[in-house]
Amino acid sequence: MARLLIVVLLTASVYTLSSYGQGQRAVAPGILPVPPWPADGNVNALPPGRYVFFNPKNAEWVISYPETLADPQSPRVTLRLGSRAQVTPSIEVHINRESNGSFSYSYLIVNAATARTPIQGWTLLVPAQDSKLAATHPIWGMHSNTGTPAREGPGLVTPTPLVALEWSAIDTARVMPGAGVGAFSVTSSCSPGFSTASFRGSVRTGSSEQLTAPLPEAVAEQLRTILTSRDTQVKLTLGPKFTPDATKTMIADNFHYGISSLVQQGVLAGDTAFVAGALQALGSFLTSNGTGSLDPERLDFMSQAKAGTEEAEIANALRWSLSAAK
């Protein structure tokens, strides 16, 4: 009898918890970089040494630490920061080669209807040493952040020093869920390659330095990691990438990674003649120890890119960059 009662209670408990999202469909699973903040707010079972948490219910980072770090029983300081990653961006780019040899890049950004917040700003990393660099938008403000050396995400690292082009919207021009904004323009002497664009929602202001300054260093270090790598939505796009001293190995490396990633994301089909040919040719060149050939005029897959699609844009970008390479 007692065993039956326990089973009934357990079943009821599971049913209650499972019914929390009743009526909703499941979406793609995920991985949190920090421990989840307890739904009941009970801090007694928090993992030791972890001071930054995520509260999925409110989409916020929770910073919680004992006032005296060495004494876990001391009163806790708890702060909450809205996550700026609750946007669902996509980005389109169109590239032109100008008569003076420079490149013009035109971007359209869209925030999917499923996004929880509007897009307030976005950032594109470009080579810093570029005499022709200019970035504009009719309404959004643009700030070129040269204070801190910018770094590309994994897969896109090159020796070229970078600068961050940061666009910010005035309140009435934010990209609302389900809407898009175009006319972001960049002019550059650098030929195109895959780069990263990061998008942030409009939930708070304050730089990473301002937010972490008052915190104990051990706490600030954990928050800094989150704010720099997990508090925006990052997308691959084509942008100014290669200075004239870029080598074919660097270009092949960049495009091999970029095309592979877009296949994974479902942006490119993996079985087209262009994609298969590009990955084969670029991969072979990379493993040739610098002895292979990558002549853009002799790469058959280039002409097999589907006109009017991302493939054509990538093919043009690869052709321009390889032609300019050492």
Binding site: V14, P159, T249
Partner: protein, 271 residues
Amino acid sequence: MKIRLLLSAAMASILVMLTCNGAMAQSFLFAPSSSNVVYAACYYSDGTPIPYCNMSLYTGYYPNTGGHFHDDPSHPYSSVTPTSGTSDASGYLPITINTTLIGQQEAIEVCDDDHGLCTIYVDGVAYFDLNFLNYPDRMILVGGNTTMHGDNNYNHWMTGTASTGIANAAADYLNVYNPGGTICANDAGLLYGGKFDINDNWTSPHASHDRGTSVDVAINYGGQCPNASVVANPNAFLQFCIARGAVQGASLVDPGVDVHCNWADPSTYPH
């Protein structure tokens, strides 16, 4: 399971990896040879984690990344523990990602087995405090395209302290022994750091180059380094390195080969 398919075909490409029910998410950055606890979850469409959800986890790697333009079936990559499990009452499953010494591009896949949904995360196993050794006024970069680790843009990455140290040591030496000249910097660290396996077998020798704290300076004539840039007084150069902060016990002259200057004791970093 999809990543495992990828790995079996890694030599060819990473072409077939994800089906239409997948998604790709933001990057994680992990240090080489580190253990990292993260939290997997299945989600409802409002972002609520699903309690007691069955999940599977996989890891994989991207070939030809991190400056490793070589591959074979023994290619190391991170592991995940556990490889499957059920989320707790709050909807989360703690998992541990254990990275190897290889700096490279990797992937973690988390699958919601109850609903047939998967997400792939790209993660970088790397030291992200490395800078390119960019001092063309005083050093020529050599050693690229010799060991399947890319050209000279891939084998000259160092921490800020070490790159400043070798730049200053080079200037000190050149002022005395070769005014207006240059030295030749051979291997430093790879662009992500981690194991610099010059024999393409994912292991040492070259262990002291695994953290981006050391660099080899050419002293041999008739090699990749133009004769005018060969360091003719290796012992003097070594002393300039030490005066600029290189660790004495970790720096030495390899006669007829190079001066090896290291700004950290290899016992202080994974190698």
